[in-house]
């Protein structure tokens, strides 16, 4: 069953077209990894899913609801289904770690103060952090910030998780720990996930299917083995990380 469906998505910024007819379906409970070069529009794509950006043309369905034309409370109802891990974690720097993780809980749920405290501690423990509730974001390392960002995103049990470059800016061991968490979210909580990355190690580890975004369109989609054996030279150049090939970088 389809959880997210994108049909003919177009989006330009000024005179620069970024998305030029993206079509993509994400099934309920699957982890879809979207790969592509830096600046190929992956983050723009993910921001359309949560309603942060509106398409110039095209439709986006989330659990059957078309979200590209709705606003206000109706959009908020759909946003409630999403948890998002931002590239730089995007923790609120005027709030403590505990207040950051509680933020969504306070707005999306009606739990008591004690229940919220328990959930905050549980979520932080899930990402391997204990007793950090009173710290401020500037006291955390990059990897810790990312894990707090993940705890904040999963605190109110969203149905869909969006990960924007989850392994960028952290060491390979911590990146692998984040990959494990993404897999735990899928197996234990049956969450549908969309992961934006250009890290192929991470992609093969977490993906049920991989889609490649190039020139504003999805040019290939398949399971990790299918992508590895793709005959598309653009896909091959990207997954092998070669400077020479059909993708010109200079």
């Amino acid at each position: 069953m389809t959880m997210i469906k994108i049909v003919g998505l177009y989006r330009s910024f000024g005179a620069t077209p970024v998305l030029r007819g993206v079509d993509l379906e994400v099934r309920r409970g699957e982890t879809m990894v979207v790969i592509g070069q830096s600046g190929s529009g992956k983050s723009v794509l993910i921001k359309h899913l949560i309603g942060l950006l509106k398409p110039d043309q095209g439709e986006i369905y989330v659990d059957g609801t078309e979200i590209s034309r709705i606003r206000g409370d109706a959009l908020q109802k759909v946003t409630r289904k999403f948890g998002m891990l931002f590239q730089g974690a995007a923790l609120f720097d005027s709030l403590t770690v505990g207040q950051n993780v509680r933020f969504g809980l306070e707005r999306y749920t009606s739990y008591s103060r004690d229940e919220m405290d328990r959930i905050v501690a549980d979520c932080l423990a899930k990402v391997g952090l204990r007793g950090v509730e009173r710290l401020m974001p500037h006291e955390l390392s990059g990897g810790m910030k990312k894990r707090v960002g993940l705890a904040r995103a999963i605190a109110y049990s969203p149905d869909i998780m969006l990960y924007d470059e989850p392994s960028t800016g952290i060491d390979p061991i911590r990146a692998d720990a984040i990959n494990d968490l993404i897999n735990v979210m899928k197996t234990e909580l049956r969450v549908t996930s969309v992961v934006i990355t250009h890290d192929m190690v991470s992609s093969y580890k977490v993906a049920d299917r991989i889609a490649m975004l190039h020139d504003g369109r999805i040019i290939e989609i398949g399971t990790p083995p299918e992508i590895q054996h793709s005959r598309n030279p653009v896909v091959q150049q990207f997954i092998r990380g070669e400077a020479e090939g059909p993708i010109k970088i200079f």
Binding site: G88, F103, R107, Y108
Partner: protein, 263 residues
């Protein structure tokens, strides 16, 4: 060559006016909707009001002193010795209607408006505004509305406080430093200064408060780029809000009646 605004500049100006208009409407809608961000409002009341007291005290004290000095010289030179005791109402009127609201607004715009732009601008470039949205908080309701309400409440409060400090400083210079008759000075001040004069200054201060918050938040929300973008937003906030305050001050002075007595 005479200056004529080019069509591109006119369009940009109208676009920006439109952006501010939309932000004002969204802010008003957020203010009159339920579920207020009370914690944020309290924090902003403290930030805008309590923390501005030292700077307002200094500004109002020296504003009052220099106004007292010039008024004393004026009376002494053009009307004659002994007439300085009549400076009281002029000092009180000038300070409460014009000088203090203007000085306080410009100082608060420099201290608070620029901080609003820098804080919201930094949140914008580090995706914190997007994170707010994804966590169910409308950025206008969470960030702009509490700042606008706090500014509209606190700038008149600071102005009222500045009026007292400025008038006390004027009194200090004329009566204590220059030895003018205290009774005549106070009697004249009480006789000619009307409550409406003070109220006019407070009405203006409320409008200036709204201007400071809206321009600071608007510039913060439209910040682009890195640290350079935040720096630009901060500078623009101080320049735009100071100019807007100076222009609005004239039109408000013209529009508000000089007294409330029926003609």
């Amino acid at each position: 060559m005479p200056f004529f605004p080019r069509p591109r500049h006119t369009i940009m100006f109208l676009e920006q006016l439109g952006e501010v208009g939309i932000l004002i409407v969204q802010t008003l809608r957020s203010i009159f909707r339920r579920r207020w961000e009370r914690g944020m409002l309290v924090r902003q009341l403290e930030e805008i009001g309590v923390r501005s007291i030292p700077v307002v005290t200094l500004t109002a004290a020296f504003g009052g002193l220099v106004f007292g000095l010039q008024t004393y010289i004026g009376f002494h030179r053009y009307i004659g010795a002994g007439s300085e005791a009549y400076a009281g109402p002029i000092i009180s009127l000038g300070l409460s209607k014009e000088l203090i609201p203007l000085l306080v607004a410009v100082m608060v715009s420099g201290r608070v408006g620029s901080a609003m732009a820098a804080q919201i601008g930094t949140m914008k470039i580090t995706e914190q505004i997007d994170a707010l949205f994804s966590l169910g908080a409308d950025p206008v309701r969470y960030l702009v509305a509490p700042r606008a309400v706090a500014s509209v409440i606190m700038v008149p409060c600071l102005t009222m406080f500045g009026d007292l400090i400025g008038m006390a400083a004027g009194y200090f210079y004329i009566v204590i430093a220059m030895g003018v008759n205290r009774h005549i000075y106070l009697q004249n001040t009480m006789l000619y200064l009307e409550l409406w004069d003070v109220a006019t200054g407070l009405i203006k201060a409320a409008v200036f408060g709204a201007v400071i918050a809206i321009i600071g938040c608007w510039q913060g929300l439209k910040t682009r780029g890195g640290a350079e973008g935040v720096g630009r937003a901060t500078t623009r906030t101080v320049v735009i809000s100071s100019i807007t305050i100076l222009i609005l001050n004239f039109f408000l002075s013209k529009a508000l009646p000089s007294n409330l007595k029926l003609q």
